[in-house]
């Protein structure tokens, strides 16, 4: 995702001289070409994220389209008040970009885990929150946020994830992408867990449960239409995110469902349970540890389905109807 982002941004910046990339002294080997070939559109703010964000607001209010860039929480939670007061309050054209969303920097420890970032960004007025699920979405999301005239948070994974989508998907901010159709339940996925969710859907399918899988790359504005459609057409909804279950995708979907007349028989949030990781490990290890690998998702989902008194598989319901 990191590569898709910087390549897309470089192309955009070549065409639009208003685009500026400000880094908080990070991006070794990533921002190099941008820095060397577009020096007038590049700023290294040093290890000073509050100033980076204030600078970005000032430049944006002077006509620039500014991307701030750093890793994990550094460009997000460290300068949170600058994002709120200087960027969002002025509706400044600033895109906050974090690489290493979730536990991408797993072994580096909890200081480098961005696991509450979407919740806090989502609460800010004027702020869009975008968390692509694969490199194809990341490239398209970069172009989409650049074209959106206002504050955006772009939460990326790391480098080297496999593409899940083909190259020709339709990508629109605020519009979920249906990756798989199924009729029993819906998996709504954000921020890089799409492949794991698809694998989970495959395992479930072998067990006779079919899942619709939605890539919810935009958390805000949420595609409430897709959520409500899923609630109407499938019986259970599971949200899946590498983020606290408080306030992120799970929170956003729950808010939408509770305020609607259309509610699923079963709703569960799959994510991190509001705790700092107590073990050390790389991203795959930590995902598995926290039940965010496909096996963990399947375990959570099957147990929830089993325990639910309201959920019945579509085939079973069909049988009941015939019998009854």
């Amino acid at each position: 995702m990191r590569t898709a982002f910087i390549d897309s941004l470089f192309e955009l910046a070549q065409q639009d001289r208003r685009i500026v990339l400000i880094t908080g002294d990070l991006g070794f080997g990533v921002v190099t070409r941008f820095m060397n070939e577009l020096p007038e559109q590049f700023v290294n703010a040093g290890v000073a994220e509050q100033n980076m964000t204030g600078l970005a607001a000032g430049m944006a209010l002077s006509g620039k389209i500014v991307f701030t860039y750093s890793i994990a929480n550094f460009p997000v939670i460290r300068p949170f008040e600058q994002i709120r007061n200087d960027v969002c309050y002025h509706n400044a054209n600033v895109k906050v970009v974090a690489v290493g969303g979730g536990m991408a920097y797993g072994s580096l420890g909890a200081s480098h885990h961005a696991t509450e970032d979407m919740a806090v960004m989502r609460a800010l007025p004027n702020m869009l929150v975008v968390a692509p699920n694969d490199p194809v979405e990341a490239g398209l999301a970069t172009r989409a946020v650049a074209a959106h005239p206002g504050p955006c948070y772009l939460r990326l994974g790391r480098a080297g994830e496999a593409a899940v989508h083909g190259p020709d998907i339709e990508f629109e901010l605020g519009k979920a992408i249906k990756v798989l159709e199924g009729e029993d339940l819906t998996l709504i996925v954000t921020g890089g867990l799409l492949q794991n969710a698809l694998s989970a859907a495959e395992i479930l399918s072998a067990q006779g449960v079919t899942a619709r899988v939605l890539s919810m790359h935009t958390l805000k504005p949420l595609d409430t239409e897709a959520v409500l459609k899923a609630a109407a057409e499938t019986q259970a909804i599971f949200t899946i995110e590498e983020h606290s279950v408080i306030g992120g995708l799970g929170g956003a979907v729950a808010e939408t469902l509770m305020e609607s007349e259309t509610r699923p028989a079963l709703f569960r949030r799959i994510g991190l349970n509001g705790q700092f990781s107590s073990v050390v490990g790389d991203q795959d290890y930590l995902r598995a540890h926290h039940g965010l690998d496909s096996a963990g998702m399947v375990a959570t989902i099957t147990s929830a389905l089993r325990d639910s008194v309201r959920f019945t598989k579509k085939n079973d319901r069909h049988d009941l109807t015939v019998v009854g």
Partner: protein, 273 residues
């Protein structure tokens, strides 16, 4: 007297008088911080800033950021004096339904460049504007007016470090050094001295002046930038509550609102000066 032979002193007087009415009506705080910067605002808006009240968004305007946003009443007063918006508006300061909040607010207020109120934000935003101007070859300058208290903020020192690195000689930081912050004197709470040396050590060209002497402020601004390729810092030595004897140098008047006899006495002293 109701006017002063020097038009800048007269503007400072009108800012103070208007501010006094505003905080009295609003029963609000921060009259001391407004009075300490009255001459600075008067020289900026009366002479130095290239701004046009008819075109508040004129792209080539000098930018002014009141980083010490709690001095909003004085800023609104000078903007109204200069005709950025109708003087009637300032009667609504701080009131329900008004557009003039207790801290500098840009929303629907012509002439307020950015909203402030949380300390330690303004200089970074100003620095971004100055950098954008340099990159685009634009001639406007960017002024940020800081309080001494907000120099406690680490985020104030980040742009102080950044601006000389980028040779932003179109950037001017002015510190209203009135020596009193929220809970005590600057010296007791968080001593800034040697203050000018700190700015110099970070790479700024510094000038220290009497922040109530309009001629000194005027001639100092006339020398901007103090050095080519360096940002300029004006440390303005001021007196909190300047202009009303019983408010001067008193922490109490960071908070207290002038009512009744105190209001009358303050108004009389300003008008008799």
């Amino acid at each position: 007297m109701l006017s002063n032979p020097n038009p800048l002193n007269d503007l400072a007087f009108r800012v103070r008088r208007q501010t006094l009415f505003m905080v009295n009506r609003a029963k609000s705080s921060h009259v001391g911080t407004c009075f300490s910067m009255a001459e600075l605002l008067a020289v900026l808006y009366g002479k130095e800033l290239r701004v046009d009240p008819e075109r508040p968004d004129w792209p080539e305007r000098d930018r002014f950021i009141l980083s010490k946003g709690h001095g909003a009443a004085a800023l609104y007063a000078v903007l109204a004096e200069k005709g950025f918006f109708p003087k009637e508006w300032i009667q609504t300061f701080y009131q329900n339904g008004s557009r003039l909040a207790g801290h500098a607010t840009h929303t629907n207020v012509p002439g307020v460049e950015i909203s402030t109120g949380s300390l330690g934000h303004g200089l970074s935003v100003a620095t971004g504007m100055a950098l954008a101007a340099k990159r685009d070859g634009r001639g406007y300058r960017v002024f940020a007016l800081l309080s001494d208290g907000e120099c406690d903020e680490g985020s104030t020192w980040e742009p102080i470090l950044f601006a000389p690195q980028h040779k932003l000689d179109n950037l001017v930081a002015i510190v209203d050094y009135n020596k009193i912050q929220s809970l005590g004197s600057v010296k007791e709470v968080m001593d800034l001295e040697p203050f000018a040396d700190k700015w110099r050590a970070f790479g700024w060209a510094v000038s220290e002046i009497d922040g109530h002497d309009v001629e000194a402020i005027e001639s100092t601004f006339a020398r901007l930038p103090f050095e080519v390729d360096r940002p300029s810092c004006v440390i303005a030595h001021t007196v909190k509550g300047k202009g009303v004897t019983f408010m001067e140098d008193q922490l109490l008047w960071h908070y207290r609102t002038p009512q009744g006899e105190e209001f009358a006495a303050a108004l009389k002293e300003l008008e008799d000066a």
